[in-house]
C-alpha cells in the first residue's frame, strides 16, 4: 500500500540568474514498511528531495501526498499529526548538546506533548546498546554513538515514515555498517517506511528499493 507519494515536485534555490534547480519534477511512490535508498552525486538534489518529502521544505511546484492526502492542503492539526508519525535522522546528528542521550531520545515525545513512553525509550536504548551511556551528553560521545542516539530519537514516536539524510556521511565504514544494522534492527520493531539518502552504494544496496537521482531528476529505480 502506498504510504507516501510525490508528483512532479520542483525546488529552486535563489532567483533569476542566480537560480539553482535542486529538484526538477520528481515523481515517486513509497510503499508501507519498505526501505528506500536515494543515491546520487553531491549536489544532485538528494537532500533537497528528502527535506521536501519530510515537509522541512516546501516544494515550489508539484505535490506530496501522505496517505493520499496532499501536504499543501493540510491544516496545522493535520500537519502535526503527520509530524508525529515522522522521524528524521540528519547527517550531522542534530542532537541538542544541553540534553543527555536519554533526554535527546525523549525529546520528540516531550515536544509533541505525548505521554512519554519511558519503557519504549528503554527498549530503544537497549537496542542501540546505549543503556550504559544514557546519561552522557552528546559531546562526550563518538560520532557513531551520536548517530545511534539520533536514530533512537527518530524512533521515539514510533514513526510511520523515517527519513534519513546521509546518516553515515560523517562516519567510517565500520561504524556506518553498525549504525545501519541498528537502523535495520530497530526497524523490525515499528516497521516504518524508510527513505534513506546516501552516496554509499553498499548502504544503498541494503535497501529494498534504490532510487537514483541526477541533476535533480529521478533517473532510475531498481529493486
Amino acid at each position: 500500500m502506498c504510504a507516501l507519494r510525490c508528483e512532479n515536485i520542483h525546488k529552486i534555490y535563489g532567483k533569476s540568474q542566480q537560480a539553482t534547480y535542486a529538484v526538477r519534477g520528481i515523481s515517486a511512490e513509497f510503499q508501507e514498511n519498505t526501505f528506500y535508498s536515494v543515491i546520487g552525486k553531491s549536489g544532485s538534489g538528494k537532500s533537497t528531495l528528502i527535506h521536501l518529502l519530510s515537509g522541512l521544505l516546501k516544494a515550489d511546484r508539484g505535490e506530496i501526498f501522505y496517505d493520499e492526502q496532499p501536504l499543501s492542503t493540510m491544516n496545522e492539526q493535520q500537519l502535526e499529526h503527520i509530524k508525529k508519525k515522522t522521524g528524521i535522522v540528519f547527517q550531522n546528528y542534530q542532537l541538542l548538546p544541553e540534553l543527555t542521550v536519554r533526554e535527546n531520545i525523549l525529546l520528540p515525545a516531550v515536544l509533541l506533548e505525548e505521554k512519554c513512553d519511558e519503557e519504549w525509550c528503554d527498549v530503544i536504548l537497549e537496542k542501540l546498546q546505549m543503556t550504559d551511556i544514557q546519561s552522557k551528553y552528546p559531546d562526550q560521545l563518538s560520532g557513531g554513538q551520536q548517530q545511534r542516539c539520533a536514530i533512537g530519537r527518530a524512533f521515539m514516536n514510533r514513526p510511520k515514515y523515517l527519513f534519513c539524510d546521509e546518516p553515515t556521511g560523517n562516519l567510517d565504514k565500520k561504524t556506518s555498517k553498525s549504525v545501519l544494522n541498528f537502523l535495520l534492527e530497530i526497524k523490525q520493531l515499528t516497521k516504518p517506511t524508510i527513505i534513506l539518502v546516501t552516496h554509499d552504494l553498499d548502504i544503498a544496496r541494503s535497501a529494498d528499493v534504490v532510487l537514483h537521482i541526477e541533476d535533480g531528476k529521478l533517473v532510475s529505480k531498481s529493486l
Partner: protein, 821 residues
C-alpha cells in the same frame, strides 16, 4: 508537566544568564553606590557642619519656647554664651558657655577625645582653641582661662579639660553672634546670649517661611540656615544629570552587554530551533515555547540576582560605615528593581522577535552558495573592487557585526566615563588653582569691607601665605542706586565684573556708561605695565585716573547700554572716544567728581573685563576713591587670603572665621569646599575607573572570542576565497577595513561629535565660568578648559591599541593560511 525540565534545559542559555546576572548586579550596585555617594556627601557635610540645619541667635527664653514648639522643628538644642575667652595678646579668641543635653544629641560637637563635662569645673574645648591658648593635648589637665563676662569684668578661672571637640564654630556664618569654643557644665555669671539650634523637617517652603517669620517676630533674633547642613535636593538638575547620567550610561552598557551576549548565542539558538522544528514542533508552538521558557528563565534569574544583590547591599549598608568608613544606603532598591526589570524585559523581547525573524535563515552559507554558483557556472572570477565589495557584503557575518557593535559600545562607554572623570578633574584643578586653600571676604558695597588692621591681622596669621585685596565700586548707572553684583570668585584677576559708571562725552553729548572703579594700591602689579607712562604722584594726589577701555568691536553685540538715559538706549561704534588728558566725570551717589584722564591704556595683561557688561575699568587712587565714596578710611571689599599647605587648618580656620563679625561681609572658607571636592573626585575616579576597566576586560574578552570564532569560520572559507581569486593583499585590505579602520572611524566620530556637543552643553550649564551664548569657536576655546584631554583620550587609545593587536594577530593567522596555498 513531568518532562518540563527537558524543555527548560533546551532553552537554557548559560552565557545569557551570566550576562543577565552581571548586568543586574552592575545596575544594582551602581544605583546603590551612587546613592551611597550622596549619602556619603551628606554625611561628610553633617560631620563638618553639624546635623541641625538652622539656628535662631540671641533670643529670649520665651522666644525659645515659641520656636521649639513650632511644628516643623524636629529637634532642638539650647546654647548659652556666658563670656569671651581672652588670649595672650588680649584679643578675643572664643567664647565659653553651656549647652543642654538635647544639644549634645544634635551631634553638632564631634567629640574627638575624652568625655562631655560632667562637673562644674570641667570643660570641653575646640581643638583649635588648644593651639590658640598654647595648651598641651592632655585630658584631665588643669587649665586657666581668662574670661570677660557680660558686664565687662575680666575674671580668671581654673578648669579641668575633660574632652576635645572638633573645631565646628568656623563653619557657621554667624559673625555677630558668638558660638562656644569652650563648653562647661554650669556658669554662674549673667548669660550674654542665648541661641537655639534645631533641625527642621523642611516639609515645604511655606512651613519654613512660617518658621522664618516666627523667628523674625522676636526683636533681636534671627535665623541662619547653614546651607551645608541642608539635605541636598536630590531632584536638582545637577544631581539628575550626574546620577541619572551615570545610571543611564551603566544601564545602556548593561543593555549593550546583554544584547551582545545574546546575539552571540543566536547561532546556537537558531540551531536548537531548527532541530526542534525538524522534530515535529510547529512554528507557533516553538515561538510560544521560546517566550515561556526564556521569560521563566529570566524571571527566576532576575529575581534571584536582585535578591542576592539586595542582601549584599543591605549588609554593606549595615556594616559599611564601620568597615569601609563609608556611608551606604539601601534606598535605591526600587530604582534598581525597575531598571533591571525593564532592561531584561526589553532584551528578551527583542531577542525573541529577532529569533522569530531569523528562524530558518543561515548565516555563513550565503558566501559558500555564491562561490559554488560561480564555480558551477565556470565563471572566471576576477577579484576587483566591485567583487571585493560584493564579497565583503557576504562576509558581513554576525560575529563581525557583533564586534563592530562591541567596539562602538566600548569606545562610547570609555568616552562617557573618561569625559566624566576628566571634566570633574579639570574642575577640581581649576578650583585648586583659583581658590586653593583660601579664605575670602567679600561685600558688594564700596563703602564696606575689611579694615587695614584686619588685613594686617590676616597677613600676620600663621598659615597664611599670600593675601590679595581690592577696593572697588560696584554700581551700575550714574543716576541709579547701588546694585548687587555677583562676584564670581575669579580672584586670580580680582578686577573683574564690578560695575560703576563714568561720563562719556561724544559729539558734545554727555552719556553715562557703566564702568568698574578700582582703587589701585601702590604695590599693585598693574604698575609694572604703566609706571613709565604715568605721573604717579599726580595720580595719588587724586587729580587723575587711569582708564582702560575695550573697543566696542570686542564687546559681544558691539554696543553698550547707556546708563544716563532710560536704560534702553545703546551706543554702538568701534571705539569709545576718550583720550589722554580729557576730563572724566565720576559720579557715586551725591558725589560728582571731575578728574583728568591721566592715561588711556590700550591693553593690560592683568585685566580681563567682562565684555558683556562693562566696556571699561577706571583705576583711581585711595584718596580719590575715599573722596568719591565719602569715606574717612579705605575699606577693602574683596579680600582673599591663600593658606599655606602645611598649615594647621583647624587653627587657621578658627582665626580666619574670627577676623570679621560684620554680617554684611560674606566669609567663605574655600579650603573646606576644595577638600570636599577632592574627596569626591577621588571616589569618582575610583568607582568609574573600576567600572571602565571591568567593562574593557569583558568587552575585549568577548571581542577576542568573536574574533576567534570568525577566524575559524574564515579558515574554512579561506580556500573558497582563494579560489575566487583573493590574494594576500586583498585579505589584508579586508582586515584593515573590517576592524582597525572601523574602530578608528568610530573613535574619531564619537570624539568629533560628542566633544563639541558636550562642551556646548557644559558651557551653557556653567555660565559661572564663561559667558552664555558663545560662538562655536569660543565654545571650543573655553571648552578646552573644562576637560582634560589626556584623561579623555589615553584610555580610548589604549583600548584601540589592544583591539588593533587582536586584529593583527588574526590577520597573521589568516596570512599564514593563505601562504600555504
Amino acid at each position: 508537566m513531568k518532562y518540563h525540565h527537558i524543555l527548560r534545559k533546551c532553552f537554557r542559555e548559560k552565557s545569557v544568564v551570566v550576562a543577565m546576572c552581571l548586568s543586574v548586579v552592575l545596575l544594582f550596585f551602581t544605583s546603590f553606590l551612587l546613592d551611597s555617594f550622596q549619602a556619603q556627601k551628606q554625611y561628610q557635610r553633617q560631620m563638618i557642619y553639624g546635623f541641625h540645619n538652622g539656628a535662631a541667635f540671641d533670643i529670649s527664653e520665651r522666644e525659645e519656647n515659641k520656636i521649639q514648639n513650632h511644628l516643623s522643628i524636629k529637634e532642638s538644642g539650647e546654647m548659652i554664651v556666658y563670656g569671651t575667652i581672652i588670649g595672650d595678646d588680649s584679643s578675643e579668641i572664643g567664647n565659653i558657655g553651656t549647652v543642654d543635653q538635647n544639644f549634645w544629641n544634635l551631634e553638632q560637637f564631634q567629640l574627638i577625645d575624652g568625655t562631655y563635662p560632667a562637673k562644674e569645673n570641667e570643660v570641653v574645648m575646640e581643638y583649635a582653641m588648644l593651639d590658640l591658648l598654647h595648651l598641651p593635648y592632655e585630658i584631665g589637665e588643669n587649665i586657666d582661662l581668662k574670661i570677660q563676662v557680660t558686664d565687662g569684668t575680666l575674671i580668671e578661672k581654673s578648669y579641668v579639660l575633660s574632652g576635645i571637640i572638633q573645631t565646628y564654630s568656623t563653619n557657621w556664618l554667624c559673625n555677630e553672634h558668638p558660638l562656644l569654643s569652650v563648653i562647661t557644665k554650669q556658669c554662674d555669671s549673667e548669660p550674654m546670649q542665648r541661641h537655639l539650634f534645631f533641625s527642621s523637617a523642611y516639609k515645604n517652603e511655606n512651613e519654613m517661611k512660617e518658621l522664618d517669620a516666627l523667628i523674625h517676630e522676636t526683636n533681636k533674633s534671627e535665623i541662619i540656615f547653614n546651607e551645608y547642613s541642608f539635605p541636598e535636593n536630590i531632584f536638582s538638575f545637577e544631581q539628575i544629570v550626574e546620577n541619572g547620567g551615570a545610571l543611564l550610561s551603566v544601564s545602556a552598557i548593561s543593555a549593550l552587554l546583554l544584547i551582545c551576549i545574546s546575539l552571540s548565542t543566536i547561532a546556537k539558538q537558531l540551531y536548537r530551533n531548527r532541530v526542534l522544528l525538524s522534530l515535529g514542533l510547529n512554528k507557533n508552538k516553538l515561538n510560544r515555547l521560546m517566550v515561556m521558557q526564556s521569560f521563566q528563565q529570566w524571571l527566576i534569574c532576575w529575581g534571584c540576582t536582585c535578591f542576592v544583590s539586595a542582601v549584599i547591599c543591605m549588609m554593606l549598608a549595615a556594616f559599611g560605615k564601620n568597615i569601609f568608613q563609608f556611608t551606604m544606603t539601601y534606598r535605591p532598591f526600587v530604582v534598581s528593581f525597575i531598571m533591571t526589570f525593564f532592561i531584561v524585559l526589553v532584551m528578551n523581547v527583542s531577542l525573541i522577535v529577532l529569533l522569530r525573524k531569523m528562524n530558518g535563515i543561515t548565516g555563513g552559507k550565503d558566501l559558500t552558495r555564491y562561490a559554488e554558483q560561480k564555480v558551477k557556472r565556470k565563471q572566471h572570477f576576477v577579484f576587483h573592487k566591485k567583487s571585493f565589495i560584493d564579497i565583503e557584503k557576504r562576509r558581513m557575518r554576525k560575529k563581525v557585526v557583533l564586534n563592530r557593535i562591541l567596539c562602538t559600545g566600548m569606545i562610547g562607554m570609555l568616552f562617557i566615563c573618561m569625559y566624566n572623570i576628566s571634566t570633574s578633574w579639570q574642575l577640581y584643578q581649576w578650583n585648586m588653582e583659583h581658590l586653593g586653600y583660601s579664605y575670602q571676604w567679600s561685600t558688594d558695597s564700596p563703602t564696606d569691607g575689611l579694615t587695614f588692621q584686619q588685613l594686617n591681622k590676616i597677613q600676620n596669621t600663621e598659615g597664611i601665605e599670600t593675601i590679595k585685596y581690592l577696593s572697588s565700586a560696584s554700581y551700575y548707572g550714574m543716576n541709579d542706586q547701588l546694585l548687587y553684583v555677583q562676584y564670581e570668585n575669579a580672584l586670580n584677576d580680582p578686577y573683574v565684573k564690578l560695575y560703576a559708571s563714568y561720563k562719556y562725552v561724544d559729539c558734545n553729548e554727555t552719556t553715562g556708561l557703566p564702568v568698574t572703579i578700582v582703587m589701585l594700591p601702590e604695590n599693585s602689579s598693574i604698575w609694572n605695565d604703566i609706571v613709565d607712562v604715568t605721573d604717579k604722584e599726580k595720580f595719588y594726589r587724586g587729580e587723575s585716573a587711569i582708564c582702560f577701555f575695550m573697543s566696542l568691536a570686542e564687546i559681544s553685540d558691539g554696543s553698550v547700554q547707556v546708563v544716563d538715559s532710560d536704560m534702553k538706549e545703546k551706543i554702538t561704534g568701534t571705539e569709545i572716544a576718550l583720550h589722554d588728558g580729557e576730563m572724566l566725570s565720576l559720579k557715586a551717589g551725591d558725589h560728582n567728581i571731575q578728574v583728568k584722564c591721566e592715561r588711556v591704556i590700550d591693553h593690560l595683561n592683568t585685566i580681563n573685563v567682562d565684555t558683556n557688561i562693562t566696556p571699561g575699568t577706571i583705576f583711581v587712587s585711595e584718596k580719590l576713591y575715599c573722596q568719591l565714596f565719602d569715606m574717612d578710611s579705605l575699606k577693602y571689599n574683596e579680600v582673599i587670603a591663600y593658606g599655606n599647605h602645611h598649615a594647621s587648618y583647624d587653627v587657621t580656620d578658627k582665626l580666619m572665621s574670627m577676623i570679621n563679625r560684620n554680617q554684611s561681609i560674606t566669609f567663605n572658607n574655600h579650603r573646606i569646599e576644595v577638600e570636599q571636592m577632592k574627596k569626591q573626585i577621588y571616589m569618582k575616579i575610583f568607582y568609574i575607573g573600576i567600572v571602565a576597566v571591568m567593562f574593557c576586560l569583558i568587552f575585549l574578552v568577548q571581542m577576542y572570542q568573536n574574533q576567534l570564532y570568525f577566524l575559524r569560520s574564515e579558515m574554512d572559507r579561506i580556500h573558497l576565497l582563494h579560489e575566487l581569486g583573493m590574494n594576500q593583499r586583498w585579505m589584508n585590505k579586508m582586515f584593515l577595513i573590517n576592524s582597525p579602520l572601523f574602530a578608528l572611524i568610530v573613535f574619531l566620530l564619537v570624539n568629533g561629535i560628542s566633544i563639541p556637543i558636550l562642551w556646548l552643553l557644559l558651557t551653557r550649564r556653567t555660565s559661572m565660568y564663561v559667558e552664555s551664548g558663545l560662538s562655536i569657536s569660543r565654545v571650543i576655546k573655553y571648552g578646552l578648559i573644562h576637560t582634560n584631554l589626556w584623561i579623555l583620550w589615553i584610555p580610548q587609545v589604549l583600548f584601540l591599541l589592544m583591539y588593533f593587536y587582536l586584529c593583527h594577530k588574526a590577520k597573521i593567522c589568516l596570512n599564514e593560511e593563505m601562504k600555504k596555498m
